[in-house]
Symmetry: C2
Subunit: 256 residues, 2 copies
């Protein structure tokens, strides 16, 4: 069975950038990069030895696989504008149904469960990939593609993938927002955020070998009402943070 060797990236954002780099490092050929902005397409294409286009209707058909790495809301409109039979067409989104790609004979999902920022290097080897496809041929090829990038490749259906994506919003986006609030509180009091960094790293590190529920600490866990009252007072001038403090504290107390 053939493998996917030549890849087109549809998108030039964080996911396209990190996937593109990792694929190139693993010996894949990046054929073409599409972005609605020709500047962005060209910038990424240059790094990946690929050609650039902003014309989705004229994607060249020389790739084995076309990876759609654009914002969820734009996928439907983009795929209406091209049709490539015999190719593998996959998107990389955590929350978009596979069925959306139904017009393509061989289609699927290659969802990297990681947070990508352009400027932060990532060890792709450790990134879990969630793979789904509409037939055994496409599934085999996408699993192989995943395995050439990472040690952690999983067959995950669309329902499960949406739940994973939802869980990831809590685990990643919302915990990062908790860090943001803590940084803001320190900044407002002229304290360097770096004093919190070991705590943040350790809090995350602990879940490697412990269920987070089993290692919950803090005033809410202890139901320490004096401290909780004091914290709520300290947040009197930050109503939004106060509301978040209250609702999470109530939930931790309830789950005890």
């Amino acid at each position: 069975m053939a493998t996917l060797q030549t890849i087109t990236l549809i998108g030039s954002g964080n996911v396209a950038t990190h996937l593109g780099r990792a694929l190139l490092n693993k010996g894949f050929t990046i054929n073409e990069v599409y972005s609605k902005s020709i500047n962005n397409a060209s910038l990424l294409a240059l790094k990946l030895n690929a050609t650039a286009t902003d014309n989705i209707k004229q994607l060249n058909d020389k790739s084995d696989a076309y990876l759609i790495c654009i914002k969820d809301g734009f996928i439907e409109n983009i795929i209406k504008q091209f049709n490539l039979t015999d190719k593998i067409i996959a998107h990389t989104s955590g929350s978009v149904d596979m069925d959306l790609l139904g017009q393509f004979i061989n289609h699927g999902i290659l969802y990297p469960l990681q947070t990508f920022s352009k400027e932060v290097a990532i060890n792709m080897d450790e990134v879990p990939f969630c793979v789904e496809a509409n037939n055994a041929h496409a599934e085999h090829l996408l699993l192989e593609l995943g395995k050439s990038l990472s040690k952690s490749v999983h067959r995950i259906n669309s329902e499960q993938r949406k739940k994973i994506h939802l869980a990831a919003v809590f685990a990643c986006n919302f915990s990062n927002y908790m860090y943001t609030i803590s940084e803001d509180i320190l900044n407002q009091n002229n304290i360097d955020f770096s004093i919190l960094k070991p705590l943040i790293i350790e809090t995350a590190r602990k879940i490697k070998s412990n269920s987070p529920k089993s290692i919950q600490t803090g005033p809410a866990k202890r139901k320490d009402e004096a401290v909780i009252k004091n914290h709520i007072e300290l947040l009197a001038n930050a109503k939004d943070y106060q509301d978040i403090y209250k609702i999470i504290t109530e939930n931790i107390i309830k789950s005890n």
Copy 2:
């Protein structure tokens, strides 16, 4: 100037356990361990080559420093029951005023800014210690004690310490609760929590060299209303999580 060499631990919980071990490793002598439970006192004392007591009124007076590592709410009552002049009396709490220790001639704070679980080993060397004291003598001795445990020792007054403690609740306790929610969502869908671990570790690791505000990602950051709506629907049977999802999402959108 003398140094603190012989230490009494008042408390036998996570903080007392980790501090005791670290002090012993650095060559300090742990003289006595107090706990209201003689079993707990004895268990820890055994590990630290110390004697155990559950009688706070008869603490032996042979230590240079007495470190109070008990729940905030119990500190006031405990210190009423003993008085040791010429000793350094310090508590390790993030949120209790130093003034509470006013009855002691030399008193202060040695607050380790870290999350301690009994079963999880910690590199004390990297733990930031916040030190405050009521006079130069006590401050010098507590700073020295901190520096023998850690590379990261800071003079922090009570007002700042309370703000740091509040920020730490967001950064540590609340982010751990976000992990807990994500684990619960996955468990309910028979997906192993381990698939999220690289994401959690990476999300924390990123703040080593980035402001969390600058690296916020996710549907709220992108204001991706379709995904947000879908996530809220997925949480229809978990009203508490849904409320938390909504309030944090609203706040991320507002702060954009």
